[in-house]
């Protein structure tokens, strides 16, 4: 099963169909597209679905905010972070993690941008001078 340029372009078209007016992916539409492809079995259907799934995965990752903190955050703290991030990015989906290795502070990853405000990263940077 080879993902050709045509299939890739087709998958991209399908992905566009799944976006709502705000430009974000609509879960319901994604599901409908997937079912339709499976039911109608077009040529290269499996390759198309694979390419489509990959694009959806990349889109989801770009809209995922992973917040890693040294200690669990309180409801209030989480809400404050949410407000700040939502103001900058639309349609974020949140994942909260704990990692004592950070020592203190937290690190925020949205898509492929990481903002590291942990104590560990500061110590690492100081040790590099």
């Amino acid at each position: 099963m080879k993902i050709t340029k045509d299939v890739q372009a087709q998958a991209r078209r399908l992905l566009r169909l799944c976006r709502g007016a705000d430009g974000l992916l609509d879960e319901e539409r994604v599901r409908r597209v997937a079912t339709a492809v499976l039911e109608r079995r077009p040529r290269n259907g499996l390759a198309l679905l694979t390419a489509f799934t990959e694009l959806v995965r990349l889109d989801c990752e770009a809209h995922t905010a992973t917040i890693t903190s040294a200690v669990p955050l309180s409801e209030d703290e989480q809400q404050r972070i949410r407000t700040k991030l939502d103001a900058r990015h639309a349609g974020l989906h949140y994942v909260w993690q704990n990692d004592p290795a950070l020592i203190g502070g937290l690190s925020v990853r949205v898509g492929d941008s990481v903002t590291d405000a942990s104590l560990r990263s500061r110590i690492e940077r100081l040790s590099r001078i």
Binding site: L58, D112, V114, D116, L126, I129
Partner: protein, 513 residues
């Protein structure tokens, strides 16, 4: 010094900052020195990518959801799933006079075991060539010390002259002799404190050559005292294709430093055929579309942007008037100059020196094929005295070659034709020159004077080289002041003409006894 303080301050500020933002990616596939990375959506073309363990990569392919990066250095510890990040920096190399006398790799790391290199600055490897306004015409000679070149195919500072020929025809030898000649002139001027002398520093970039060859060559440079004026950049056959691809640009950056300081530098790229092959490998691994001979579409730009960086800068508007002369080397297959890479580079450069296998095996060394060798801009930079004496040599030699083919069929030739043949065969003999024996300007002038004014016409052709050796020895021992006068005057004044004549006459007389 103030630079380093600022740099340190910036580093401390950065370290003390509460948070840093980074653009990260994940390795999806890795192999053959290339990593395909997911993420890195902010990566820029040719930006350095940092991998775990401090390994660096160069972002060369920017695609919709993926970045293709070429690893610089060993990435054997990297695995699928490792994270990497952008650095916001371009690839840079150390530059400065501290590199003279050193042997370094593409990144400027020392390979000669003489300790760390002393950098005056760091220059980006890729740089846009200087513009039209900042340039001026070529007007100062590069005295190669190789008589046929200085006489017939003169090279000027800031020129790009291609050395092209089959394998083992003495391409490297020409370049090395030129480097040795520059070093000797620099040293002599230093010792004598010549006023207004502009030293010419050399950079030799070895691309895809065997390490044994390079080390032999470095030893030769050292032995002849040329190494202190030379930087050797090595990306040998066993280095990665990426390192070989980047080596000429790194060497060029080192040369540009001298040019920016208002000094003169000469860079030899040995050779660009192997460079094109290394780039083809990188491109194919990056899955770029390939064209003729499987080279990627931008292989012309690969060499044109490199050779465009050689220039002669003027001294207006705060510029300091330096120059960078480029001597690219191209290896042909069976003398075929119409192959893809040779035609490309011929069209980019300001002339070519074509070395011929047949001539080489006939014993004509350097094996320069005069008929198809040209220098398109160098004659305006040729030293006046050489120009005056060598004016008709190229024509004489071209006519000789034509007549020679013709004379094979008939024995009864008229006197004029015979004279031309006689003169031509003597010029050919005179232009033979051993390796590592570049001549000084004075000696070149003596040679040219002797042949052009007919002093060698009665010497049998088979004796020319012996007589020439005697002549040169006589000149260096007994006419040092005449040689010095030629070096300083650089024109054929009446006085010099008379002294040359007197010298030749006395030499002739001494030989009769």
């Amino acid at each position: 010094m103030s630079n380093i303080v600022q740099e340190l301050e910036a580093q401390i500020r950065n370290a003390a900052a509460a948070a840093v933002s980074e653009n990260v990616g994940t390795i999806k596939a890795i192999g053959d020195g290339v990593a395909r990375i997911e993420g890195l959506s902010n990566a820029m073309l040719n930006e350095m990518i940092e991998f775990p363990g401090g390994v660096m990569g160069l972002a060369m392919n920017l695609e919709e959801n993926e970045v293709g990066a070429v690893l610089i250095g060993s990435g054997s510890h990297l695995r699928e799933g490792d994270t990497c990040k952008t650095t916001g920096r371009l690839l840079q190399v150390p530059v400065g006079p501290g590199l003279l006398g050193r042997v370094v790799d593409t990144l400027g790391n020392p390979l000669d075991g003489k300790g760390p290199v002393e950098a005056a600055a760091h220059y980006p490897v890729e740089k846009i060539a200087s513009g039209i306004i900042s340039r001026q015409g070529v007007n100062q000679p590069v005295q190669t010390g190789i008589l046929p070149i200085d006489a017939m195919i003169p090279i000027g500072r800031g020129q790009r002259e291609l050395i092209i020929g089959d394998r083992s025809t003495g391409k490297t030898a020409l370049a090395i002799d030129t480097i040795i000649s520059q070093a000797r002139q620099n040293k002599r001027a230093e010792e004598q404190g010549t006023e207004g002398y502009r030293p010419l520093y050399s950079i030799y970039v070895a691309i895809g050559q065997k390490r044994a060859n390079v080390s032999r060559l470095v030893a030769k440079l050292e032995e002849s005292g040329a190494l202190p004026y030379t930087i050797v950049v090595v990306a040998s056959a066993s280095d990665s294709a990426a390192m070989q691809y980047l080596a000429p640009y790194a060497g060029c950056a080192m040369g540009e430093y001298f040019m920016d300081q208002g000094q003169d530098a000469l860079i030899v790229y040995d050779d660009l055929s192997k460079h094109a092959v290394a780039y083809r490998q990188v491109s194919l691994i990056l899955r770029r579309p390939s064209g003729r001979e499987a080279y990627p579409g931008d292989v012309f730009y690969l060499h044109s942007r490199l050779l465009e960086r050689a220039a002669r800068i003027n001294s207006e508007g705060g510029r300091k008037g330096g120059s960078l002369t480029a001597l690219p080397v191209i290896e042909t297959q069976a003398g075929d100059v119409s192959a893809y890479i040779p035609t490309n580079v011929i069209s980019i450069t300001d002339g070519q020196i074509f070395l011929d296998t047949d001539l080489f095996y006939q014993g004509v060394r350097p094996a320069i094929n005069v008929g198809i060798s040209v220098s398109r801009v160098g004659s305006s930079a040729q030293t006046k005295i050489v120009k005056k004496l060598a004016g008709s040599v190229k024509l004489d030699l071209a006519q000789f070659e034509e007549l020679q083919a013709f004379a094979q069929f008939g024995s009864d030739l008229d006197a004029a034709t015979k004279a031309k043949l006689e003169r031509g065969s003597r010029i050919v003999e005179l232009f033979k020159q051993g390796q590592y024996e570049p001549k000084s300007l004075g000696i070149e002038v003596i040679n040219l004077y002797a042949i052009q004014r007919g002093y060698l016409d009665d010497v049998p052709v088979s004796d020319i080289r012996r007589v020439r050796a005697e002549l040169e020895e006589e000149a260096s021992v007994n006419a040092a002041d005449l040689l010095a006068a030629i070096e300083t005057e650089k024109t054929l004044t009446d006085d010099i003409d008379a002294r040359l004549k007197a010298f030749m006459t006395s030499f002739k007389n001494s030989r009769k006894h």
